[in-house]
């Protein structure tokens, strides 16, 4: 492939950076309004603090949630399409190996994992990023079941029914929230990754 050298220097292309920041905004809106919706009928013995929620009351939170879902969903589709068309998924996430994942995980826990080359993901990054894409996909599918459990009948059956879909939606959110915490901590540890997701280089 004869790619001009200028493009090679860009580590995160513009479309990806745009997708990332649009998604970041949409996820904040979705999670905060989602917490307010959760509070209306909690699955477990706890509420989210009102200050961390969006919408003020259930009706307001639902309006935010079902508005932000369009940004979140369409942006997610663009992200998937571009990743597949440009071959970025293949380049970035090829050669997955569980053995390497365990080795890199142990190295990460002892603080010796190389995280300094933003052109390549280490095996922990590869697995975590794939998992979070999967979690977001699961959030979207379970969300569709909660929104339209009669119309999306096959999806509802696939996810084990309406009530099960509520738990799937919740646990996927938990996974996403944990990811965001680790993601932000890693930015503090390796600040130049923040530059690559803003400037591209």
């Amino acid at each position: 492939m004869s790619t001009p050298p200028k493009i090679l220097e860009t580590i995160q292309p513009l479309w990806l950076r745009l997708c990332h920041w649009i998604n970041a905004g949409a996820v904040v809106l979705m999670v905060m309004s989602g917490w307010r919706i959760y509070n209306a009928s909690p699955l477990f013995d706890f509420h989210f603090p009102k200050g961390a929620t969006l919408g003020g009351w259930l009706g307001g939170a639902l309006q935010w949630h079902f508005a932000a879902m369009w940004i979140f969903g369409l942006n997610g589709l663009v992200y998937l399409l571009f990743n597949i068309i440009t071959g970025r998924f293949r380049r970035r996430f090829s050669r997955l190996s569980f053995a390497e994942f365990w080795r890199d995980s142990l190295a990460a826990l002892s603080g010796r994992l190389k995280h300094s080359d933003p052109k390549h993901y280490n095996m922990v990054q590869k697995f975590v990023y794939i998992s979070v894409v999967f979690a977001v996909f699961t959030l979207a599918l379970s969300g569709l079941v909660l929104w339209k459990s009669v119309q999306f009948a096959y999806l509802r059956q696939m996810l084990g029914g309406y009530e099960t879909a509520r738990y799937i939606h919740f646990y996927s959110m938990v996974f996403l929230a944990l990811f965001i915490i680790v993601h932000l901590i890693m930015v503090v540890f390796v600040p130049k990754t923040l530059l690559t997701i803003i400037r591209g280089r």
């Binding site: 905004g25 904040v28 809106l29 905060m32 919706i37 959760y38 209306a40 009928s41 699955l43 969006l54 919408g55 003020g56 009351w57 259930l58 009706g59 307001g60 639902l62 309006q63 935010w64 079902f66 508005a67 369009w70 909660l146 929104w147 339209k148 459990s149 009669v150 119309q151 009948a153 509802r156 029914g161 309406y162 009530e163 509520r166």
Partner: protein, 264 residues
Amino acid sequence: MDKDKKHVRLSKSDSHDLVMDAQRMVQSKLSNEGRRHFLRQGLTLGGIMMLTGCSLDDNAEAEKVLSQISRFNDRVQGWLFNGNRLAPEYSAAEITRPFPFNAFYSEDAIPAINGDDYRLEIRGLIRDVRAWRLSELQSMAQIAYTTRHICVEGWSAIGRWGGVRFSDFLHLVGADTRAKYVSFRCADDYYTSIDMASALHPQTLLALTWDDRTLPPEYGFPLKLRIPTKLGYKNPKHITSIEVTNYYPGGYWEDQGYNWFGGS
């Protein structure tokens, strides 16, 4: 009916109205507070997200945009709605017991309705405008479905409702089924409305029974709309009048911000 009895009943309904008025005042105050909070938060977040300055106008703007998107979501749901797709049915063993009572008031405010005096008013774009007795509805063909009631809050409960298939009733009274809306007014001052396609769905019932016995007061005696393709707030209880119309009728919760289509 003697004068004395009438007097007692009047004062009863007066006190009922009084309680309703008080409840509405509290409700509107509460929802105003919620709205203010909603606006304030909307502003801050909107401000961060769009990197714009903060002003009250932006707040009202955010709320306007959100309700426009909600109207857009009504259209999307109308488009997604398939009149032949049935809500799942459940076995008798899966019925939620006790089935939860749920309304915008507490159980002691459930309206007391005398089934013998009860009349169902039918209005609007129909051929046969008249009031219906409960016994007339009971003498029509009856069907029952055990379906999941899904509340907008997220919880759900399985119940068995039986009664007259709403499309049978609409056809019988000569309703114009090309009309856009069917609107409901209730003895508990609740009101809501649905789209015609959902009204004609085969599982949409004018429910007269719950769990194969007369609909108890807490579940909407004498008449409740049971529509398993929509959320709980689209299932009005204690219905006193039905109107077929092309003018958007709104609803008790819908006017405060719940999505109008409210389909599942």
